[in-house]
Amino acid sequence: MSSSSENSVQTFNLTKSYGEAKALDSLTLGVRRGEILVILGPNGSGKTTFLHLISTVLRPTSGTATVMGYDIVKQPLKVRESIGISFQDPRGFWRHKPYHILSFHASMYGLRGEERSKAVEDTLKDFELWQSRNKRFMELSGGQAKRLEVAKLFVHRPDVAVFDEPTAMVDLEGKRMIWDMIRQLREKGSTVIVATNEVREAEYLADRICIMKDGKELVMESLMTLKDSITGGDVVDLEMSAPVSEEILRAVRDVPGTVRALQGGERSLRTFVNRSEDWLPLMMTAMQGLGVRVSSIRVSEPSLDDVFLHYTGKEVVQSHA
């Protein structure tokens, strides 16, 4: 882990409890200046709680964190001046119009007069909301409301920009647009933290990925390092001529080099193996011994989905963007 002086956000045993339940459990991590950190985790893993804590929306039960060097417990106002958060559910401003919502947001961060008007206009155009600027919030579509929620952070470009599931409810074209905008934000100097359970989003955006489960960090590395970290670095998908029986599954698992074998469909198997070039002949021999023909073989690197599955035991949402 890098030293805290290089980090825009640094947590120290950050914990949030609700009664006996720990939504976040002694989390200690650092987010480097100018990086995009994607926090990936199943629902209830503590992603949103983490974002709310570093944004001072919630107060930690124990531990603390710094944002741009300011302590979230002792200097919350300074933290709020340094961080901006785009929430998961854009709600609450039913009667306001997008132009007023962004203009108000900008004013809260000290933008005045012409500077504010220009920032609001540019942002509305960038997010394709200019035509809807005078509609009431309650008249916007789900996707438009979400884009408006994300757009807030582009009006004032905070030192640390935090996005909670930024493309939920957004169509495919909109997702790509938001991802590109988030990357631009990083290029303009902001540190970005994105919480998501979409693999595509993580793959597209992340400099590093933090996988969380049950309020704890399981691992935090770059995507490449994460893929390399899985024992059984090759993924081999097999299609059999006959339904996959227990006997076949056992035989595949017994092949030297097999790390894990999972049944995919009725006739398919997904295996994680060491050195597929050595493993494949051995597997073929074993299948011949059972009188089973292998009709298709596909060898690939593990995907982030596989990485996630490896660490959490749960599958994540697969976006088709």
Partner: protein, 249 residues
């Protein structure tokens, strides 16, 4: 904080018909129902004026209650967590909510109060002092309602039930619609424990209602100020802890 106040005021006054409805509702109650009921109530001297001032106090209570409830609703609608992330202190946020409630109170209660003072031939100085008393009462009511928000974060239904029951009791066990001297002893004892009784009587003292029907203005002023300060203090201390400690919706 002023930007936030301006933003929320824009929304609060976005619905002009709702504000006009308040005035029409007052006018109907005062000029129609008030005339009728004041013919029935003869024991209280000039009950028509007494009733009119009572209506204004009820409006003030309802607006204070609305402001508190709105604060709680904003948490359930997801707006509050956004506001909590903005660069304002929790104290400023609490103050802003109070100012919002006061502003709404001035706009909605102001015109009816002006009508009463014109009909009663009261000078503008009296009008201003009476408005100040109403605002002080409103602060107390808002403080109570906002401070109760910790209940709402556990269960909004329980909060709504408590607020509705409390409102019904506070409005009825008070001198808002009938003077203390005309109440049965047990009823009067309960009403004396109600801060609204003191607020109502202080308001009427300022407007020059028959002093024989009212509590002493000094005592009333003391209670109203004490309740206002207490609820403000409790709210300032309690609300930030409650807001930042609860699981967001």
């Amino acid at each position: 904080m002023l930007s936030l106040l301006k933003f929320e005021l824009r929304e609060a006054f976005d619905s002009v018909p709702w504000t006009v409805y308040y005035w029409i509702f007052f006018a109907f109650q005062y000029f129609v129902y008030g005339q009728l009921v004041s013919r029935l109530v003869v024991a209280v001297s000039d009950y028509y004026v007494y009733y009119g001032t009572g209506l204004i106090i009820i409006m003030t209570f309802n607006i204070g209650s609305w402001a508190g409830r709105r604060f709680v609703e904003s948490a359930h609608e997801g707006r509050l967590k956004y506001i909590l992330s903005l660069p304002v202190t929790r104290g400023q946020l609490f103050l802003e909510q109070l100012l919002l409630g006061l502003a709404v109170n001035v706009v909605r209660v102001g015109p009816p109060l002006v009508i009463l003072s014109i009909l009663g031939g009261l000078p503008s100085s009296v009008l201003l002092v009476s408005l100040a008393v109403l605002l002080l009462m409103s602060v107390g009511v808002m403080g109570i309602m906002i401070s109760l928000s910790f209940v709402a974060f556990k269960s909004f239904d329980i909060y709504s039930a408590i607020v509705a029951s409390m409102s019904a009791l506070l409005l009825r066990f008070s001198t808002i619609l009938y003077p203390l001297a005309f109440m049965p002893t047990s009823y009067a004892a309960v009403s004396l424990a109600n801060p609204l009784t003191y607020g109502a009587d202080l308001f009427r003292s300022v407007l020059g209602v028959d002093a024989n029907q009212l509590l002493s203005p000094e005592l009333s002023a003391f209670v109203v100020i004490a309740v206002g300060i207490s609820t403000l203090t409790v709210g300032t201390m309690l609300v930030p802890r409650v807001l930042e400690g609860v699981k967001s919706s």
